[in-house]
Assembly symmetry: C2
Homo-oligomer: 159 residues x 2
C-alpha cells in the first residue's frame, strides 16, 4: 500500500531544512541535499516522499520569466461588488479560474471584496480582460493598480 495522502503530518526541523533547499533548487541530487542538511540519502528521500504524499509540497516546477515571454504588464485589481448570492459567486469564481492571465485571486475581508493579480502583455490586453470580465459578471467597482516595478517576487515561503 502506498502513502496516505492528504493526512496532516508533523514537520520537524530536518523537514524544514529540506524544504528550504528544495525551494531554492529542487534539481539537486539527494546526496547534495543530504550533505547540506546534515543527513544522508535515505532519510532525506523518505521525508520528501512523506511531504509529497501529504501535499505539503506540490510537483517540482520551474518559474518562467514573464517579461521574456512578452508579458510585460502586471495589474492588481481591486473589486467591490453589490452581489453576494451563491450563484453570482460561483460564476465569478469560475471566470477567474478559467482565465490564465489571472495569476492570483483572493476573497477579502472588509470594503474590498476581491483582489486579483493579472499578468498580460500590455495595457490593451488588460482592457480586453477587463471588458470580458465585466461582460460576464456584474461588479460594483473595479480599481486597477498598475505595477511599475517588481521589487520582489518570491515563490518560497519562510519555513
Amino acid at each position: 500500500m502506498t502513502e496516505e495522502s492528504g493526512k496532516a503530518v508533523r514537520i520537524d526541523a530536518l523537514d524544514r531544512k529540506i524544504l528550504r533547499v528544495l525551494q531554492r533548487d529542487s534539481g539537486l541530487s539527494l546526496d547534495a541535499i543530504a550533505a547540506e542538511v546534515g543527513s544522508s540519502k535515505t532519510p532525506v528521500w523518505n521525508r520528501i516522499r512523506k511531504m509529497r504524499g501529504a501535499s505539503v509540497i506540490g510537483p517540482p516546477t520551474v518559474i518562467v520569466d514573464p517579461v521574456a515571454m512578452g508579458l510585460e504588464a502586471c495589474f492588481f485589481v481591486l473589486i467591490r461588488t453589490s452581489e453576494h448570492e451563491a450563484e453570482w459567486q460561483r460564476k465569478f469564481l469560475q471566470t477567474l479560474k478559467d482565465r490564465p492571465e489571472v495569476q492570483e485571486a483572493h476573497r477579502l475581508a472588509g470594503e474590498i471584496d476581491y483582489i486579483l493579480k493579472v499578468r498580460v502583455a500590455n495595457a490593451r490586453a488588460y482592457d480586453d480582460f477587463y471588458q470580458a470580465m465585466i461582460a460576464e459578471v456584474r461588479v460594483f467597482n473595479v480599481t486597477a493598480l498598475l505595477s511599475m516595478e517588481e521589487i520582489k517576487a518570491e515563490t518560497a515561503i519562510p519555513v
Copy 2:
C-alpha cells in the same frame, strides 16, 4: 565554452510547449516531455539548456503549502508615502527584501505607491511585521487587506 547567458532568445512554438510541460511538472523525464510535445530527447534537452542559459526559466523549485507550514494568514498591504527621495526608497526596498514574510512587492503607478503580499502565521504576526516596518521607514498611509480565501494561486504563466 558554455552557453551565452542573459542573451535574449527567440522562443518558438516548441519552446512554449516545453515550458507548459515544465511549469506543470519539471520532474518528468526527458523522454516523457519529448513524447508530450511531439519531439525527441536531444532537441528538447538543448532547448531547455538554451532557456536556462538565457534565464527564461529559473532553477527548478517546489511550491510549499503555506497552511501546512502554519502560515495561515495572507495580507495585501497598500502603502502610500510622502517621501520620494532616493535614500528613503533604498532603505524601504532593502527592508522589503530582508523580510521573508514579504512574498511580493511592487512599486505602482497612481495614488498608491506600493503593494505588498505578506504571508504570516496570524494577525498578531502581521502586526509584528507592520510595527517593524513603520519603525524603520516613514510611510504616509497603510491599508491592509486580509485574505479570507485563496481562490487561485498560480505560479505558471500562460505561454
